[in-house]
């Protein structure tokens, strides 16, 4: 799909909005009014700061915390020390590491103490993919795609409770409040790629109020127009106000919109300098198209049986998340810039404090094939080269046991992976120590993942700064060079 060029030449900040096609959806007139006196400051033009390697992002986020040692960072040594106290093993020194202090900003001090009785892996593992990366037996499909994936085994964060969900998206601890999220930065910086869909879309069940809620795809001070737009995977009612409700004729409404435009244009003759009026006329055009474009993107009629099979739509277990992943591809294809997908909401989280085996085996079975299917489908359609796929989770799980058969939250080291545009395929980057406790090699705080995404999209996060909104060095992160092609 052709990219709608956003205006590069803005004579007056107030006017340029209306003159730049539909790109205004990513930009706020009000924000500009408010900041018009900031002489040195200009809003983003919608153009990347340097040549981009990718255009869009699909961001898969597993809620609750996926065990890294039973997914992408298997630790067979845990089986050897199963049931032993950490202090009885050669790894006792881990507890003395200054990394613990650096890593931890407890949500409730004293809760989630380090679990000291080592717990064996609850599933097998073997080398998978053409490049032979150790992946657990719960992820055979994604494992089969390792030659396309850059795996990072050395992520860390600081919250040991589910506020880490918010933290993963804003880069700040939940105590620092609701700040712009990665999707909103991308939306703010690049605007729209299409003329009839929202540009930052959220699918799946978002986290609850406890852990950031809608703030995890919010825009903080960037303004609500940069919030992720939540879509139900239901083509009949994907978002609020998408239809005027039963009984209204399509033609009746179409004519209303046409008449409205006629009236607004009559007013525009009186107020020729009013950029807001022109922007509003455009916004109605887009809204009208959204009414059909959004449901269409969520209807899979024309998808072949083969494609459906790829995402597991033919099986009850994989169908729900398969539909979400297929919707993500269809939205991406239609030019949605950032698709943020949650898995594990509404009491279905990966938060295996007990019965980890049951919990993870069931949830992995639901996501493994759809996620792998998404990668394969993007590749076969030639979309993977310009799409960044991120798979992440809020933190890992403790090498030690909780409740005899579970694992607790573990912010000290865990795994995420990326694939697609600009990503070096088939690499493993970073490592945790032998029992999977600390990220020890090429450590990456969550904002390094943001920085990598922005870098590949051609954005310089510092150039997106807004006057008066001070950010710290760690907020920007650093691109993970080891996984960039």
């Amino acid at each position: 799909m052709a990219q709608t060029p956003l205006c590069s030449d803005h004579r007056s900040r107030r006017i340029f909005l209306a003159d730049c096609g539909l790109g205004f959806t990513g930009l706020a007139l009000g924000a500009m009014n408010a900041r018009a006196q900031e002489a040195a400051w200009a809003p983003p033009t919608g153009n990347p700061h340097r040549a981009p390697k990718a255009k869009r992002v699909i961001w898969l986020f597993m809620l609750g915390g996926v065990s890294h040692v039973e997914s992408f960072d298997p630790k067979p040594v845990l089986n050897r020390f199963a049931g032993k106290q950490l202090s009885e093993t050669p790894h006792a020194g881990i507890l003395e590491s200054p990394l613990i202090r650096e890593n931890l900003k407890a949500f409730v001090p004293g809760q989630h103490q380090i679990k000291l009785t080592l717990y064996p892996m609850q599933t097998g593992h073997r080398k998978r993919g053409a490049n032979g990366v150790e992946v657990s037996d719960w992820f055979p499909h994604i494992g089969g795609m390792m030659q396309e994936i850059a795996l990072v085994r050395s992520a860390w964060t600081t919250d040991n409770d589910h506020g880490a969900i918010l933290q993963f998206h804003t880069g700040r601890h939940i105590f620092d409040g609701y700040l712009p999220t990665i999707g909103s930065w991308v939306h703010y910086g690049l605007g729209s790629l299409n003329e009839n869909l929202p540009s930052f879309v959220v699918l799946g069940q978002p986290p609850g109020d406890c852990c950031g809620g809608v703030g995890t795809h919010g825009s903080g001070y960037l303004g609500p127009e940069h919030n992720g737009v939540y879509l139900e995977a239901n083509p009949d009612a994907p978002l609020p106000f998408v239809s005027p409700g039963p009984g209204v004729y399509l033609e009746e409404q179409r004519r209303e919109f046409a008449f409205l435009e006629r009236l607004n244009r009559l007013t525009a003759v009186e107020y020729p300098a009013d950029a807001a009026l022109r922007a509003r006329i455009k916004s109605y055009e887009l809204a009208f198209r959204m009414q059909t474009a959004v449901p269409d993107a969520l209807r899979f009629k024309e998808e072949s049986a083969e494609t459906r099979g790829l995402y597991g739509l033919d099986h009850d277990v994989t169908r729900p998340f398969g539909e979400v992943c297929l919707a993500a591809r269809r939205l991406s294809e239609r030019g949605v810039r950032f698709v943020q997908i949650y898995h594990g909401g509404a009491g279905n989280a990966w938060d295996a404090h007990k019965d980890l085996r049951k919990n993870h085996a069931e949830l992995a079975a639901k996501v493994d094939q759809p996620v792998a299917g998404l990668l394969k489908d993007l590749k076969q359609r030639g979309l993977l080269d310009e799409t960044i796929v991120v798979w992440a989770t809020e933190f890992g799980r403790t090498p030690g046991a909780e409740n005899s058969n579970g694992r607790d939250h573990h912010p000290f080291g865990f795994s995420i992976w990326m694939a697609g545009g600009g990503i070096k395929p088939g690499v493993v980057h970073g490592a945790t120590d032998e029992i999977g406790f600390h990220a020890v090699e090429n450590r990456h705080y969550v904002t390094d993942i943001h920085a990598t995404v922005l870098h590949l999209l051609g954005l310089d996060p510092k150039k997106l700064d807004i006057p008066g909104r001070k950010r710290l060095e760690i907020d920007y992160g650093k691109p993970i060079q080891g996984i960039i092609a």
Partner: protein, 866 residues
């Protein structure tokens, strides 16, 4: 050892002539500030050394004196700086220039004269006054007749060779004034009356009328609640877990609206919000104003709570980015790191609570959310780098305003509280409410027992079920007994409470307390016996299930323990709080609300100006510091600020002053002047989009459906399309906003000093497809006369008649739409979505008229204030 004095000797001649005090001021003070105070001043005190005061200088460090006046060679400060002794200073830094070292030597030799440091933690406080906003505003002269607002605006225009636009036409002007002062447009009748009023003072009369309308408080209340970041409680509303703010903060929202309507002086409002419990401790209707502070409550972290309290108080009232000094000395403004924590100390003692209100015992259901001083002895420490894990416990900081405003301490007088304030449940309605609650419980148990008896009958043949039913029934009987016994217990506890409060003490106090204990125990025993029965049953049933057994055992043990409660004394009806308040918040509030404060009035005036004129005078509305922007019209800002204060902080007078100006009354039509593209100098008025609340309220108003009921608990946000109350009364919290308001950039309840005015397709969808708009369009269309419909609809919705072109277009639309509806067969229809609240008309032309009104609701001019 020899080198330094030798070099010094050369320079000595030059400086020794200068008086020693000058040497300090000209040289030494700067040397210390640049090289030493970063670590050795009141905030940091590395090694226990504070070089920011003479006292600290002479006290020395943990290792002993650092200066021996008259003898540099014996002074550690000199020796370390000269690298004669170790550890060489500045630690890990570059050695001082020789001339600086010798200046230190000379200064000590001259007796180390010292003036109170104006440089603290790297900040030169003496220079604070160089920034305009930190100096008191002085009323500038007005040299032309008329409204001073126009004088200053005209002056600025003239300087730039700009001309002013003519006055707006009366219709546009009246609609602007209505939306601005009341949040909704005028009715057709109000518009007609105004146009027919030939009085030269018709406009001024209208201003008076609208300022006197209760709608004014609702409109401007919402503005101020943006600045004060109103939020209903949030966290997990479904499971009633409060994590932020508190239930019943809506009473503070109502206080805001009522105070504005009563034209309470702004300085008094500040005092009531920050210290209502200290200034009028016996008056719940004043105390509710402290909901302002309650709003920042946070369940999980006291420091996050206090940070928000400190930072938003400074930003909202003072336009000060105190926030930047949380981790270090402010990078732009003269605010030392410690000043942040001295400001925090005003709030250190305070905590929140909910007081009962008459008729409701359950404080989750109703009550007054308020603050009080819980612990006046709690010390305030500076956190190194803002990290709560590294407090500087060497110095407990005393409450003080930022030192850039002068370093004199505030007079802080503790406030003695009346009984009702420190023991709110001593008020007689508490006992009455508790008794009502007990009676409700009795009724509930009785109903439950009827069901249990039925269950008993039904289980006649099933031994296990029968056993369970009988246990439940027996336990219910005990609980009933307990509830019944609790009524005399409440009465006796109330009597015993009263006895303890009498002066001189009631001679019967002891007997009354004993009676209360006995009555309370009777109820408790019965309740515990019920728990015991159920616990025993569970215990018996749980055999084999380790976990259930453990839980049942715990319950049993608790029940047994409760059998003996209370062991001595009785439980008073409610908590007793400290009988006095520190007075710290009152002192702070009075300092903020003082005419001597250079910022308070300027910041408030700027907020009001922005909301009347569409842009602020100081564009950084929450930052009047050095990194903020200068005022576009500095003299106007100061004139308004002084006028505001001298009028007794009279808000309505200020509104009047602004909206009766020629500047306000100009038309917004026309091109921007090329030299002033952003209309900073008001060559015309700014047109604006209505705020979210005004959009929804105006829809209701033009349809004649706005419910004028004021006040009360927040209304479920899901009901925004059916309940026709004003938007300000609906639930508003970070995760709980009405969809329609959110689409139109409703205030972020976390922080909103200035609304966004975005234009996004979600707004179009909300207006075009929202149930509210559809229903109101249908209602209104049915009400308007079919003949002359187009003119009537334009008049009603947009406040003006249609132009000839609009009339023609509308006629065509009605005709085409009628044709369409006449033959709907074959038309595709929307099937999904919610059922409409009002069904479309069956008559084709009536339905076409509904479509027309619906389009006018979506017209750009409906949401635009010209």
């Amino acid at each position: 050892m020899q080198a330094a004095p030798r070099i010094a000797a050369g320079i000595l001649a030059a400086v020794v002539l200068a008086p020693a005090a000058d040497l300090y001021r000209d040289r030494v003070q700067g040397i210390l500030a640049r090289n030493c105070l970063g670590c050795h001043s009141a905030g940091a005190r590395q090694g226990g050394l504070d070089l920011s005061t003479r006292e600290g200088l002479l006290r020395g460090s943990d290792h002993g004196p650092v200066v021996v006046p008259g003898n540099p060679e014996a002074s550690q400060l000199y020796k370390l700086a000269a690298h004669i002794a170790q550890p060489a200073m500045p630690l890990k830094g570059r050695k001082l220039a020789d001339s600086d070292i010798s200046a230190l030597g000379d200064w000590i030799r001259a007796g180390a004269p010292f003036e109170e440091a104006t440089i603290v933690e790297g900040v030169d406080l003496a220079k604070a006054g160089e920034h305009w906003a930190f100096r008191k505003p002085v009323r500038p002269a007005v040299t032309s007749p008329g409204n001073p607002v126009d004088h200053f605006i005209q002056q600025a225009r003239e300087r730039r060779g700009l001309a002013r636009a003519p006055e707006a036409d009366p219709r546009t002007l009246l609609r602007r004034l209505y939306v601005d002062l009341t949040g909704v447009p005028p009715t057709t009748a109000e518009m007609a009356a105004y146009l027919g009023n030939r009085s030269p003072r018709a406009y001024e009369q209208k201003v008076e009328e609208l300022l006197a309308s209760p709608r004014y408080g609702e409109r401007w209340g919402r503005h101020w609640l943006d600045v004060w970041r109103y939020s209903d409680w949030y966290g997990r509303r479904q499971s009633k877990e409060v994590r932020f703010s508190q239930p019943h903060v809506w009473r503070w929202r109502d206080w805001t609206i009522e105070s504005l309507n009563a034209n309470k002086p702004y300085n008094r409002m500040i005092v009531e919000m920050l210290a209502g419990d200290e200034v009028a401790p016996g008056d719940p209707s004043t105390v509710r104003a402290t909901g302002y502070l309650v709003r920042s409550w946070y369940k999980f972290n006291r420091n996050v709570w206090l940070n928000d309290t400190v930072e938003y108080t400074a930003a909202s009232f003072l336009g000060l980015t105190l926030k930047c000094a949380r981790c270090h000395t402010h990078k732009y403004d003269p605010i030392p790191h410690s000043d942040y924590y001295r400001f925090r100390a005003f709030f250190e003692p305070h905590d929140i609570r909910i007081d009962r209100v008459e008729g409701q015992a359950d404080t989750f259901k109703d009550g007054v959310a308020r603050v009080y001083d819980a612990d006046g002895a709690k010390p305030t420490y500076r956190f190194f780098r803002g990290n709560e894990n590294t407090p500087d416990t060497s110095v407990a900081l005393q409450p003080a305003p930022p030192s850039l405003f002068g370093r004199g301490a505030l007079a802080i007088t503790p406030v003695k509280l009346p009984l009702a304030a420190y023991f709110p449940d001593s008020r007689p309605f508490t006992a009455a409410a508790l008794i009502v609650q007990a009676r409700d419980e009795i009724a509930n148990i009785e109903r439950e027992m009827v069901k249990l008896r039925d269950a008993e009958k039904a289980a006649a043949t099933d031994a296990a079920k029968l056993k369970k039913a009988r246990i439940d029934l027996a336990a219910a009987e005990k609980r009933l007994g307990a509830a019944q016994a609790s009524i005399p217990a409440i009465e006796k506890r109330a009597r015993a409470d009263a006895a303890t409060l009498m002066t001189p003490p009631d001679p019967n106090a002891e007997q009354l307390a004993e009676a209360a204990r006995a009555a309370e125990r009777k109820a408790n025993v019965l309740r515990a016996e019920a728990s015991l029965m159920l616990g025993q049953f569970d215990f018996d049933q749980a055999q084999g299930d380790e976990k259930k057994l453990a839980a049942a055992t715990r319950r049993l043990e608790a029940a047994v323990a409760a059998l003996n409660e209370p062991k001595e004394g009785y439980t008073p009806l409610g908590q007793k709080y400290p009988p006095s308040s520190t007075g710290r918040r009152l002192a702070l509030a009075q300092w903020i609300a003082s005419q001597d404060n250079p910022l308070t009035a300027r910041v408030a005036v700027n907020h009001m100006w922005m909301r009347h004129f569409g842009r602020p005078l100081v564009s950084t509305v929450f930052n009047f510091g050095r990194s903020g922007k200068p005022a576009s019209h500095p003299e106007l800002l100061d004139w308004l600020a002084v006028e505001f204060m001298e009028s007794g902080w009279d808000m309505k007078a200020l509104h009047r002053r602004m909206v009766t100006s020629q500047t306000y009354r100009m038309t917004s039509a026309g091109q921007p002047h090329p030299s002033d593209p952003d209309n900073v100098y008001y060559t015309r008025m700014n047109s604006r989009r209505m705020e979210a609340e005004a959009v929804r309220d105006s829809l209701l108003a033009v349809a004649g459906k706005l419910d004028p009921t004021m006040g009360g608990p927040e209304i479920d946000r899901e009901k925004g399309h059916e309940v026709h109350r004003r938007s300000i009364y609906f639930l508003h919290a970070p995760e709980y906003q009405m969809d329609m308001l959110e689409a139109f950039d409703a205030a972020s309840p976390v922080e909103c000093f200035q609304r966004n005015e975005s234009i996004v397709p979600q707004q179009a969808l909300a207006l075009a497809n929202g149930r509210l708009g559809l229903a109101l369009a249908r209602t209104l269309a049915a009400e308007l006369p079919a003949s002359g419909f187009i003119a009537a609809a334009f008049e009603r919705v947009l406040g003006r008649p249609p132009s000839a072109a609009e009339q023609t277009a509308s006629e065509e639309f009605l005709r085409d739409q009628t044709t369409l509806h006449r033959d709907p067969a074959g038309l595709e229809v929307y099937k999904t979505g919610q059922e409409p609240a009002v069904k479309p008309a069956t008559d084709p032309s009536a339905r076409a008229r509904e479509n027309l009104v619906h389009v006018l609701f979506n017209h750009n001019e409906f949401v635009t204030v010209r």
